[in-house]
Symmetry: C2
Subunit: 220 residues, 2 copies
Amino acid sequence: MKKYLKVLKKCPLFTEIEEEDLLRMLVCLGARVEFFDKKYTVFSEGSPAKFIGIVLSGSVQIVQVDYYGNRSILSELSASEVFAEAFACAETPALPVSVIMCEPGEVMLIDCSHILHTCHNHCGFHQTLIFNLMKDLAMKTIIFHQRVEITSKRTTREKLLAYLNVQSQKAGKDSFDIPFDRQELADFLVVDRSGLSAEIGKLKKEGVIDVEKNHFTLLM
Amino acid sequence: MKKYLKVLKKCPLFTEIEEEDLLRMLVCLGARVEFFDKKYTVFSEGSPAKFIGIVLSGSVQIVQVDYYGNRSILSELSASEVFAEAFACAETPALPVSVIMCEPGEVMLIDCSHILHTCHNHCGFHQTLIFNLMKDLAMKTIIFHQRVEITSKRTTREKLLAYLNVQSQKAGKDSFDIPFDRQELADFLVVDRSGLSAEIGKLKKEGVIDVEKNHFTLLM
DNA sequence: CTCCTTTTGTTGAAAATTCAACAGAAATTT
DNA sequence: AAATTTCTGTTGAATTTTCAACAAAAGGAG
């Protein structure tokens, strides 16, 4: 497990926990690591939510597909980010989303019942873990709010600009990469891909943005 | 505070906490109760998030308004439900939403720093509180996912039907009330009110649903 | 390097949403 | 009980999105 320490220390689940404590803790929690190839389904919609996942390398997407085949992308997560924690904590009988490997890499899986139902009052690290989980879930809720704010816009243009503003703020720069290709961005914004392409073209021509593949620059 | 016990016991924040402990705890947390009239703004967008709110009576709406004046309704909460907890826990400098009193009533306010930063390791109730907060935030995240699932549909009809299905499941019946008037429902689903009215009319004519004001029945 | 697959931008037609405006119904106030 | 305000359903026109199809560009495999 030692080789994952660097990534894990950045994981919001483990803030305020020292390296050696962390290592012991992982054993106690029964954490295991698995490697997945690109496009592999780590968790699939409908299966029971038992595990919390942590991205160690590569990246994953959280995806929802309705019965018309419309895909919506909820988020893309990279190293040291946590996924499925809300469902695992709430002990949901069926996951409403799938988790797909986006860039091949390793994922740490922790059976959430080990966090929720064991040594409730004694172990100090355990309490810290619950506290961190709470903080993490609060943060996730806020990110969800941002998504709602973006997808609540009525037009493709407004959604795109709202998204780019959030990304720009997140990057702290006017110039930044986005983690989606065009189809994925469309699925995230809940719009049609061709319409999105057209809108990007317009904004470019109007001098509002500059685009080079996945690299965007806000000009005004 | 005694007269609020019945409502507070149903509050997800206080599960597993005995009445007398709860009363002492509320004092320790500096909880206070305020009455607000209909349409009163309890928290307003942009203000710092310091307090967790609990609806004691009446109801509140969580609302977001963009600079075009488009309102989107995130949720409506009634007695014993908690609001603003995510922002308070994450200590967000500026609330991204407003909380508006919908039906006049009382609200309990708890300064979240009293939950996050005090007697971290000692008091047992405190730990239970953090655990409950974590559970509550997990649940909120899941409700958010439902909202995303609904608003990710491409047409007014699909959004409406997805919403009604969720409400029906929640009620455990095919027949149920919704907490929104038409304009509010439109703002929740992110669609145009007149288009929504038209769609409701169609579904009624087609025999898919039955509607009487805010009471809906799924027929198929 | 070439072949094959995936991604992207463009098009035009069809479908759906939005917008503004209005009138009747329902609810609230005086 | 009358007057006023709010809510709802309807309309038609304008706008926007969606959909399907295609070709150029980019990327990957052998």
